[in-house]
Symmetry: C2
Subunit: 107 residues, 2 copies
């Protein structure tokens, strides 16, 4: 079918999966790495750096914004993207909680 049955899972499970999903594309990894390396993080520069078409990058940026990992500040006709440090930290902590709580209790 292709339709994830989200309703049978807990909110926490769906939220975790959603975070993983946003990170589950090499272009979005590359964008995050590039943004974090640069002082200036203009969309146009991301396009040339990553090597995908501008609408494609814009779409990936939208997904990263959807969970708050990055934020875009409008500066004239440019948009300056940067990481959201607080969200970045809290996502990392959330994932660590998942890894820690899913302890080993093997057969």
């Amino acid at each position: 079918m292709g339709l994830t049955k989200s309703q049978i899972f807990s909110d926490r499970q769906n939220e975790l999966a959603q975070i993983f999903r946003v990170l589950a594309h090499p272009a979005r990894i590359a964008i995050l790495e590039y943004i974090s390396e640069q002082k200036s993080c203009i969309c146009k520069d991301i396009v040339s750096e990553v090597g995908l078409a501008q609408p494609t990058i814009s779409q990936h940026l939208k997904e990263l914004k959807s969970i708050g990992l990055i934020q875009g500040e409008i500066e004239g006709k440019k948009v300056c993207y940067c990481l959201n440090a607080d969200k970045w930290k809290s996502v990392q902590e959330g994932l660590n909680d998942f890894f820690d709580q899913t302890s080993i209790n093997c057969c």
Copy 2:
């Protein structure tokens, strides 16, 4: 198109994305959590616990196995699944490296 252009990204970026992709489904989160909670972790039990059809669970288990997060031991006609503790730890460390290295250097 629907075809990720993996060749324009680094191995590391593709590998990270691949790990995130495998974790990016609530059923697989639920399976990992359930396996870790149980002493015995037979496929049939996962099917009743998670609430998806047996072929669907089998497919999800295959994906989790593909990156080594779980392993299945054949016991007669049953298969006993458990977490791979070493891989679990190394994946967690790899993701933490990514989060730490992607430092904040904002505009």
